[in-house]
């Protein structure tokens, strides 16, 4: 579904991605783990076209999107829950969801909204609250809900567990699994390698802008190097 071939990305003169190749197949959960600054978020954002790849090729559902505009890419069936959630703090919960469903018609909007409210009953209760006043966990739910409102076939999640209480993290991971069961393709970036790999069908390890390991989630969990570097021995 998503295919990266030898992708390089630069921030000015700094090379953040040094020829990354990877693939996410339809219906999979693929986890990308790696240390701070390894280039995980850059990788996601490069697929979204912001910044654009300086060389290489990115294919989404067979279409070359390497040089496409961000809005065009994001309207083609891909959604992102970005790092730090980035909910529109001054807008209410419902307004945030409206922004996700900006391009859907009223009927689609209503049915997708119902689906999101079923996944996150909390959002239904809080729909007229300004999202900036909600807790971190609720904001994370909103960010996921907003991404789902775009009716994506594939969703990117950038560190959804960051800064959340363990009980909320479990909830979020359950939701991710549920999304996969509904047929969504999920590309998950996490520092929380343990949980991310347990959930994943396959995983990639990114170090200094390069993929150094790839395997099934289960194999990576027992891999000696991965255990030492990311799972605390």
């Amino acid at each position: 579904m998503l295919k990266l071939q030898n992708v390089h990305t630069h921030y000015g003169k700094i090379e953040a991605l040094k020829g990354v190749s990877l693939e996410v197949k339809e219906g999979e959960i693929v986890s990308l783990i790696g240390a701070n600054g390894a280039g995980k978020s850059t990788l996601l954002m490069t697929v979204c076209g912001d910044p654009r790849a300086s060389s290489g090729k990115i294919l989404f559902e067979g279409n070359d999107i390497t040089q496409a505009n961000t809005p065009d890419i994001m309207r083609s069936g891909l959604a992102i829950v970005p790092e730090g959630r980035r909910v529109f703090a001054g807008l209410t919960v419902l307004e945030n969801l409206h922004m996700g469903g900006f391009f859907t018609n009223k009927q689609e909007f209503e049915s997708t909204l119902e689906h999101v409210f079923k996944l996150f009953p909390r959002l239904r209760e809080r729909q007229s609250q300004r999202s900036g006043t909600m807790s971190g966990g609720e904001q994370q739910m909103l960010a996921i809900g907003r991404a789902l409102m775009t009716k994506p076939r594939m969703i990117f999640l950038d560190e959804p567990s960051l800064g959340l209480a363990p009980i909320i993290i479990n909830q979020i991971f359950e939701i991710i699994e549920q999304l996969r069961d509904e047929g969504m393709t999920v590309f998950l970036v996490e520092q929380n390698a343990n949980q991310a790999l347990r959930l994943a069908d396959r995983g990639y390890v990114l170090e200094n802008g390069e993929v150094v390991l790839q395997d099934t989630g289960d194999n990576l969990l027992v891999n000696e190097d991965v255990r030492k570097a990311y799972l605390g021995g």
């Binding site: 980035r86 529109f88 807008l91 307004e95 922004m99 900006f102 775009t150």
Partner: protein
């Protein structure tokens, strides 16, 4: 005692009249700042162009069409002026700001000032640099107070300014709060990158804010043009500075702030003129700007949002 009160009321009415037009222009500054964080210094020229288009419409187009019914004249003039001014607003952004966006802020600022000088001289060449007089379409009014003493008056023109401003601002407020595009404006001004990541074409939202700002400046152009009955190519500069002051006073980036700032500034000016000296009204206005920048840079209503991380 009654006389003092009437005099005060008169100054208040005059101040609110001017203030509401400042507010209309200030909204253009504040919306653009809210979305791309730059001061559109060519915005005052849009207002100036708005006065010219109104004048041309009233003295040229309307007689040509043979319309004599006053409300219809005003509505047609307003529509023509808002449309053409909006086109200018849109074009200014495309020509002078979009190519330099993402670069150093100073570049955009210089580009804005350049655009302002260009527009001023363009109108000067096209229309001449002398004052152009406009027929006073709305005459008459009410007077209050004892027949032999000081009488406070409210002219129909002032009333028209209040009503037109009220409708325009009410419409804008509803648009921003309720409509799909208004919501998008708010979202883009909060986090442009995220809006792009939801598939929203942020360039179009930016264009939209320029178009709205210019349309409101055109409303102010017609209102003030009729009120003063005269225009020239240089009025955009001082009006722009005043409206900018109003926007900063109310809190730049905040639309209710711009409305409040405009009214406050108008009243301050008319009170200064009335009780002190009209020569000093600009000193007081810009002194106020300096004080606000020194002691409350966020303005009256512009509070930095507290976010949970």
């Amino acid at each position: 005692m009654l006389e003092t009160a009437l005099y005060f009321i008169q100054q208040l009415l005059n101040g609110l009249t001017i203030g509401s037009t400042y507010a209309l222009i200030a909204i253009g500054y504040t919306m653009v700042y809210g979305i791309i964080g730059m001061i559109n210094f060519a915005h005052g020229e849009i207002y100036m162009i708005g006065t010219y288009i109104s004048f041309i419409a009233i003295s040229g187009l309307i007689p040509l069409l043979g319309i004599e019914y006053l409300p219809l004249i005003l509505i047609i003039t307003l529509a023509v002026s808002m449309f053409i001014s909006s086109t200018y607003g849109w074009a200014i952004e495309r020509i002078a700001y979009r190519p330099v966006r993402g670069g150093n802020r100073l570049i955009a600022l210089i580009s804005a000032i350049g655009m302002s000088i260009f527009l001023q001289n363009y109108v000067r060449i096209a229309q001449g640099s002398r004052d152009i007089a406009m027929p006073s379409l709305i005459q008459g009014g009410w007077s209050f107070g004892p027949p032999e003493g000081f009488q406070a008056s409210l002219s129909y023109m002032q009333l028209f300014i209040f009503i037109a401003t009220f409708i325009t601002m009410g419409g804008l407020t509803l648009f921003i709060a309720r409509s799909r595009m208004g919501r998008a404006c708010r979202a883009v001004s909060e986090d442009m990158k995220m809006a792009g990541l939801l598939g929203i074409n942020t360039n179009r939202i930016i264009s939209l804010t320029f178009v709205i700002g210019a349309a409101l400046a055109a409303v102010a152009g017609l209102l003030l043009g009729l009120y003063y009955g005269v225009t020239n190519p240089y009025i955009g500069f001082i009006a722009g500075l005043k409206a900018f002051t109003a926007a900063v006073l109310g809190g730049i980036g905040s639309i209710p702030g711009a409305m409040l700032g405009g009214l406050l500034l108008g009243v301050t000016e008319s009170m200064t003129s009335a009780y002190f000296s009209s020569e000093y009204k600009d000193v007081v206005s810009f002194g106020l700007l300096i004080l606000i920048l020194l002691f409350r840079p966020t303005g009256l209503l512009g509070k930095p949002e507290v976010e949970k991380i």
